[in-house]
Symmetry: C2
């Protein structure tokens, strides 16, 4: 865990209904990449990769040759959003404000062409909202080269740490500053491909995402 | 992979010397958390957690009760830095500019008290540079409750994707914008713990890290 010494303050729950599921969805929708854990020859492997969500299904993709994306084995997909560095009055209570989701399950190889299409669309839109309808969609050759997997969100947990440090009472008298340094992911103004032969501005849906720079 | 369909353009190398090792170190030093992959009862588990580096050793920590941090099993530690969203002229070539490191190995349980101390210092300083010397160090009880593991960086790889999209030549005539939206992690001005009873400003080493807000 981000700080296993503070695990009692992390909320752990199998998500079953209502509010919790909305929280899981919101967290997944805010992320950009996940870390996909697989077991290969008995050893763990953790790969950063894109993903997309439709309802209670997470979609993953890869080339048909990727060994890490063979269907049949269990996976763990973790999405982590960092919100701040927690600076306590003691080294022990330093921590990280974050939201993370872990999804466990055995992915299903998607074979239905419509679902494959929808899954790839969700993965692209997760990274670059608005782009799917703006660009050339996959052709038959590209579709054939791509494997799409579906992972149910049935077995998932969300962990959240928020707020100031959780120092020992006995440390409060110590004249040491304590607090949180917020951490954010920002999108800077887009940089046009130097190879673009048309005089085109970045589209509105790209400019609308800019939060930095 | 962030886009396994573009894996040929990712640099894959077992790091053996010189420049590559410096690149691995720089990447690890820039990260805030890693994703730790372990195998529990045959199933993969991926946990976000802090880490620190001293030379060619990565340190991890957790409570003595944490099952994921039992020594003896192989792990995969992945650190991913996102640099940009690659928006191509086709959905297929959408990708992510990123730098990621994967480290494989069987961690060693650290028992030497000086190395345990140095490892915990490195983990704290990774998250919050300058804090270790500013705050109360761990006491005997806290040290006893903490497990420290050391993972050699001997078996590690770095993958990097940079630059504009890699579209098909046949798509260049299409009048569609293409480019990269840079992504950055920023640190906002610190928020003082409301429970701080002293009138203390945030220290210089915290303020020096502010890049946003």
């Amino acid at each position: 865990m981000l700080s296993t010494t503070e695990r009692t303050r992390l909320r752990r729950a199998k998500h079953k209904a209502g509010t919790d599921r909305a929280e899981l969805h919101d967290l997944l929708d805010e992320g950009l990449v996940c870390h996909l854990g697989v077991v290969v020859d008995g050893s763990p492997r953790v790969l950063p990769t894109g993903y997309g969500r439709i309802g209670d299904t997470l979609y993953l993709h890869g080339s048909t040759g990727a060994r890490s994306l063979q269907a049949g084995g269990e996976v763990c997909v973790t999405v982590t959003l960092l919100d701040g560095i927690v600076m306590a009055r003691s080294g022990f209570h330093h921590s990280v404000n974050h939201r993370s989701a872990m999804v466990f399950g055995t992915p299903r190889l998607v074979t239905d062409e419509q679902e494959r299409w929808d899954g790839l669309r969700a993965i692209t839109e997760q990274l670059a909202p608005g782009q799917w309808d703006a660009v050339r969609p996959p052709n038959a050759k590209e579709m054939a080269a791509t494997r799409v997997l579906a992972l149910s969100l049935e077995e998932a947990s969300v962990k959240v740490r928020t707020g100031p440090p959780n120092d020992e009472e006995s440390d409060h008298a110590t004249p040491v500053w304590a607090g949180v340094q917020p951490v954010r992911t920002v999108f800077d103004p887009p940089v046009t491909d130097p190879a673009l032969i048309h005089d085109l501005p970045a589209p509105e849906h790209v400019l609308a995402r800019v939060t930095g720079g």
